[in-house]
Symmetry: C2
Amino acid sequence: MAKPFVLSVKAIIRDSNHRILVIRRSAGSKNNAGRWDFPGGKVDPGETLDAALIREIREETGLAVELETVLGAAESDLPDRKVAYLLIRARVLDGRVALSDEHDDSAWLAPDELSEADLSPQFRSFARSLAPVR
Amino acid sequence: MAKPFVLSVKAIIRDSNHRILVIRRSAGSKNNAGRWDFPGGKVDPGETLDAALIREIREETGLAVELETVLGAAESDLPDRKVAYLLIRARVLDGRVALSDEHDDSAWLAPDELSEADLSPQFRSFARSLAPVR
């Protein structure tokens, strides 16, 4: 029997200097504690993917955003399920970063910094694809 | 107001010679009539993405499949909505290709043939990423 797939949506949010917002998973996180992550999360049953992502970003970062375009995909193979990630560029409409208990730090990283950060492993290949070729 | 995003899941199904299954959209199709497409389609409200993809593949091709791994993403920007595509590798468990009315031909294409085929435009960049570098 194949594992079920669960959909998660994550946002790539840039500031005016093209740096990308990452948030650090709290020490008590079940997976990837202490690692950097993109804002976002699971789509609840019956919820549309844009409503889910806008909700998660507001809960996790306090930011109001508008979704722009699909940038990529990723996958995490967990013991009981696979998580399929859609990575979507989002634009800040309003707000300042204010974290929930799920995260303990935030940073705006340039693409080359992002590709070297201690990101959750499922996003490392995507992060490298954003960095300039050297 | 940003356009809503709709999720569609598409399957990359290979035969034992690593050729990939594509199906041709019927002349009466609303979008991309006569172009090659991957099997799959929209996720209905409340449906999981794996149930949706397995259902669509069975309806469109007669094949029973098991989903394996996320290979990529794509987007289609329509007048009233954006479609976010997840491209997932699937393995045939049983069946032979038998098309529905929505498609009028099928083909198994090698990656370099796929990258030169008249695919629906939103999948061309992904198709090129599968072809060997020359």
